[in-house]
């Protein structure tokens, strides 16, 4: 395979589209959450303003090297994940740098940002950050288990580790989606998905009323702005993986937007309905509901 330089431009274009889409979509989901509480919530463009303001703050302080690096780690986790996911199936422009074994790489990248955050938050020295990180790591590790099992099931089912081929196998009608050909694994994966989205009932990491916002407690100005940027890229990239693996991928941008929105909305819906789990409760919940489903899905394949 020859490397074409134009691909870099295409990848940047993907990044640009995803950032804008993510900014608007997360604001929209927040508005939907506000409507559940009978409020109107933030304006749809609020995320842009927050971002400009945080980049425009005049002073910032540091707690050490890792404090600098953590937002960078996090952002590279998000961007890296996006870069290796074939965003639009069948499009030369937007398949990015996906290759034969990208599924394994994606699994790794999903975890990458959390680890970077753990180092940075540890260095910030705030007790809430340390508490949040220890909770977050145990919970994300646990939520990763059903998801990983589901990914293995899908890889076995289609006999490939390439996301593009998995999407290709699901083309030709809704009934070809993994959702219908292997529903048990998809259910397990969606349980894992809930756990990694930092929304209630699994938002113990941030827990606004308890350990105020957790890991990023000490982060401010540009550091926070970098993390906010990542917070709109990373979920979209992660949802794109789910879309590719289980929901037939997308052949055009509008299809991508709609599918990502609904998959994202799934976690938001669960979030507004259910109260927060404690960390031992959520781990037990994943053990009881997520892991057996994942194993069952694997066995059925």
């Amino acid at each position: 395979m020859t490397f074409e330089w134009i691909k870099i431009l295409y990848a940047l274009l993907t990044l640009f589209i995803v950032i804008n889409y993510g900014l608007l979509m997360t604001a929209l989901v927040q508005k939907i959450g506000a409507r559940v509480g009978r409020r109107h919530g933030i304006p749809i463009y609020q995320n842009y303003i927050d971002l400009i303001k945080n980049y425009g703050l005049r002073s910032s302080i540091t707690h050490g090297y890792m404090f600098y690096l953590a937002p960078v780690f996090r952002l590279s986790g998000g961007v890296g994940l996006l870069m290796f996911v074939p965003v639009i199936y069948g499009s030369e422009m937007f398949s990015n740098f996906s290759f034969a074994g990208d599924l394994i790489l994606a699994l790794y990248f999903v975890f990458f940002g959390t680890l970077g955050m753990a180092l940075g938050a540890g260095e910030s020295g705030h007790p809430y950050a340390a508490i949040g990180i220890s909770r977050g790591l145990s919970q994300v590790t646990m939520a990763e288990l059903p998801f990983a099992l589901a990914v293995f099931a899908v890889a076995l089912q289609y006999q490939t580790m390439s996301m593009t081929e998995i999407v290709a196998a699901q083309q030709g009608g809704v009934m070809n989606w993994t959702l219908f050909t292997n529903p048990v694994s998809v259910a397990a994966a969606m349980i894992g998905f809930l756990g990694s989205m930092m929304r209630p009932p699994f938002d113990l990491v941030l827990a606004p009323q308890e350990i105020p916002i957790g890991p990023p407690t000490e982060y401010h100005s540009s550091y926070l702005a970098l993390m906010q940027t990542n917070r709109v890229i990373y979920p979209v990239a992660k949802v794109a993986i789910f879309m590719n693996l289980f929901f037939g991928g997308a052949v055009s941008w509008p299809e991508f937007f709609v599918k990502v929105f609904f998959i994202y909305l799934f976690s938001a819906f669960v979030g507004v309905v259910f109260p927060r789990f404690r960390v031992e409760q959520s781990i037990r919940w994943f053990m009881i509901w997520g892991v057996p489903l994942g194993i069952l899905g694997l066995v059925m394949v």
């Binding site: 509480g37 303001k53 002073s59």
Partner: protein
């Protein structure tokens, strides 16, 4: 000063002895700097607009006025519509609402929180207590004029002001910020000695560095 804040020698569990100076080791005590608007005017204007449209409030209620801030989050007033949000940590907030009377004990915490906020930062004095002491005018334990201890950008008078008054206050603050006049942090840095002298006059058990962030 409390014993645990004094400079002392500590013997570690492995028998190794080392010196600890809490005020010096645990705080950064460099004085505040003036951060001028260095950018081209149009960029500074853009930033000022963004700052005015994205006001993050430190969720710290000092007095009875705190109860007037809560309804702003509810469906009836819903301040989120105006880009006003609450942050639980001083690092990420831009606006400090001193909500009502301020006892000397709270003033200490307020100063520490204020100094941990990142520039540019704004202060709103809520209620008459922050202007002249209000009904606590002859109290031995509350401060009377907030302006002597922190640079205040805006007062919202009343005892207590209704949430509507707060919303109006936010709109006025937005105008101040957009006009480029919300320079309280720089004012604080320029007149640092004066503010510190005033603060130390009322706080008797001063057991923190002069500037802690």
């Amino acid at each position: 000063m409390k014993d645990e804040l004094k400079k002392r020698t500590i013997k570690g569990p492995d028998g190794f002895e080392f010196e600890v100076d809490p005020l010096h080791d645990y705080y950064c005590d460099a004085p505040p700097k003036v951060h001028p608007p260095v950018y081209v005017k149009i960029v500074e204007d853009l930033f000022n607009w963004a700052r005015s449209e994205s006001i993050w409030i430190l969720g710290f209620g000092t007095g009875c006025g705190a109860i007037e801030m809560r309804p702003l989050m509810t469906p009836r007033f819903d301040a989120y519509r105006y880009g006003v949000q609450w942050r639980p940590t001083p690092r990420q907030s831009n606006l400090f609402i001193i909500s009502g009377y301020l006892s000397v004990k709270t003033l200490k915490r307020v100063i520490r929180s204020y100094e941990q906020m990142q520039s540019p930062k704004y202060v709103i004095g809520l209620g008459s207590c922050t202007i002249n002491g209000g009904m606590y005018w002859d109290s031995y334990n509350t401060i009377k004029k907030l302006d002597e201890y922190l640079p205040v950008d805006l007062y919202i008078a009343g005892c207590m002001p209704r949430p509507e008054a707060l919303l109006k206050g936010f709109e006025d603050l937005k105008k101040i910020i957009r006009a480029g006049e919300g320079e309280g942090a720089n004012h604080y840095a320029e007149n640092f000695d004066w503010y510190k002298a005033n603060q130390k006059k009322v706080i008797n058990d001063w057991d923190m560095p002069d500037y802690n962030w």
